[in-house]
């Protein structure tokens, strides 16, 4: 069991090496990158915006409802919303949601290409199929921090609307909370995490799709396994990066 996991991890890193071997012609690669930006980034904006806005609102309401002691200032609603959204919700939980959305898309599309021999066709033609299929995804996902930036903004906006229009506090109190003890490095920390998660989101689902064996049923199984491993790896990296960047 352990040997199998170690062998898979080794295979994953060897895949990284192969991705950068024999690059595809730039004129073709440019088109592929633009297509991946459309499929992975632009197509994710709607769901990210929707989830961020409402979860931001819920965080604000939950915080407000738990502030039962009149001595606790109302600005804490804004403060808690900001900290929750910027530090964890936007970078980590949106990444896990994207492991489901983008990850299953990547695994199933590459897995279907494997099953229908399209990857063999690329290899037989002399194309480095890993570079052709995975490299554009890695480049497209460099825009993932942009998605997370939008998520942060909409999460806080959702919190502000829920707090003010829900009657839990005034706009000034909420905005005062947003500005209270603000540490700019937290934004950098969130984007550093997002950059690492983007690399994981591009490569782990690709790995599971590319090396899958079997038929249609196995494509479904590979998508599930890919989601589990991408999520587990994101959570682990989140812990390691938080320890490295905030606790040291």
């Amino acid at each position: 069991m352990l040997v199998r996991y170690l062998s898979q991890i080794g295979k994953y890193f060897l895949m990284w090496k192969e991705i950068f071997n024999k690059p595809t012609k730039w004129s073709v690669m440019r088109t592929l990158i633009l297509k991946e930006i459309d499929d992975l980034i632009i197509d994710s904006l709607g769901i990210v915006a929707f989830i961020s806005f409402f979860v931001g609102g819920v965080v604000a309401i939950q915080t407000a409802l738990n502030l039962t002691n009149p001595l606790i200032p109302k600005y804490l609603i804004g403060f808690a919303t900001r900290q929750s959204v910027i530090l964890e919700f936007a970078p980590t939980f949106i990444s896990i949601i994207m492991a489901g959305k983008m990850g299953s898309f990547i695994t199933s599309s590459i897995g279907t290409m494997r099953v229908t021999e399209q990857i063999d066709a690329l290899e037989v033609m002399g194309v480095n199929s890993l570079n052709y299929l995975v490299f554009p995804k890695i480049i497209a996902l460099q825009l993932f921090p942009f998605v997370i930036g939008i998520s942060m903004f909409l999460g806080i906006l959702g919190g502000w609307i829920a707090a003010v229009y829900g009657g839990f506090g005034s706009s000034d109190e909420f905005i005062g909370g947003l500005q209270k003890d603000f540490i700019p490095f937290h934004i950098a920390y969130a984007f550093i995490k997002t950059f690492v998660f983007a690399l994981l989101l591009a490569t782990i689902p690709s790995f599971h799709g590319y090396y899958m064996k079997g038929g249609a049923l196995e494509v479904g199984k590979a998508s599930t396994v890919s989601f589990v491993w991408t999520s587990v790896t994101i959570i682990l990296m989140n812990y390691i990066l938080t320890q490295m960047l905030l606790a040291s």
Binding site: K22, T24, K25, S27, V28, T112, M113, T116, E117, Q118, D120, A121, E123, V124, M125, G126, V127, N128
Partner: protein
């Protein structure tokens, strides 16, 4: 010409190819036949470089594949056209994008030159009105013809076909067989076809290799297959009454 010498390939404990040697000649349709599990697909995938043999050599007009560098192997692969069993067309691309793909990847031709060549080969495979369609919008026979067009668009030296007739009706099968034979002769390429289809064997088999249990059990032409008394071949080829009668009629003259 492709020359295979003492090719051995195993998967775990299972030895699939047990030292096969054969020659596939240029300008001829070379057929590999045999029962399921006889090693046909493994042999074809070894020829294509998808499987790495345990031992033995494959040489393409004197170039021994295992001796080539990674770049030389990729270069050689640009001389290979392959028609997969399920066509393996890229389903996100239209018919003309599929056919033009090898040109786009490996040549510096202008868009109009690529388009001209794509139109030419699509016309060659009698497919003219499907340029803008996706593979999912055309029939299985048309998909096979697109796959053949894609395989020949780059003027390959070697053409490999894995079960080109599977899933096709008899009329379309004959069209595909004849198309492959015409292309082989017209461009003087080395064509290797992996097939179960006895109609193909009788129609276009100029050099037939019969595999059994990972070994070459017989090699000959379509005329010789009527006269052979090799039991393994006759049991396989003449397993149906129809082909038994065809053989009897042929032998009676």
């Amino acid at each position: 010409m492709i020359e295979v010498k003492n090719l051995v390939k195993s998967f775990g404990d299972s030895k699939v190819l047990k030292g096969v040697s054969m020659v596939f000649e240029t300008g001829k349709t070379n057929l590999i036949i045999g029962q399921s599990g006889s090693g046909k697909t493994v042999l074809l995938k070894s020829l294509l470089g998808i499987h790495t043999p345990d031992s033995g050599t494959i040489s393409f007009d004197g170039r021994i594949y295992s001796d080539l560098t990674k770049d030389e192997k990729r270069e050689l692969r640009t001389e290979i056209g392959m028609v997969f069993q399920g066509s393996a067309l890229f389903d996100s691309m239209t018919v003309e994008e599929n056919v033009g793909f090898p040109l786009k990847m490996f040549t510096h031709n202008s868009k109009s030159e690529i388009q001209d060549r794509v139109d030419f080969v699509l016309k060659r495979v009698n497919l003219v009105d499907a340029n803008k369609k996706l593979p999912s919008e055309i029939s299985g026979g048309m998909q096979k013809r697109v796959a053949i067009a894609r395989a020949i668009v780059n003027n390959p030296q070697y053409l490999f076909c894995d079960e080109p007739n599977s899933g096709l009706d008899p009329n379309t099968s004959i069209l595909i067989d004849n198309l492959i034979k015409e292309i082989t002769e017209e461009y003087n390429i080395t064509t290797v076809i992996n097939t179960h289809d006895m109609n193909s064997v009788m129609e276009i088999g100029e050099n037939i290799v019969f595999l059994k249990n990972g070994l070459k059990a017989w090699q000959g032409t379509k005329e010789e297959i009527f006269r052979t008394d090799n039991k393994a071949v006759t049991d396989f080829v003449y397993s149906s009454n129809l082909f038994k009668k065809v053989r009897e009629a042929y032998l009676k003259g």
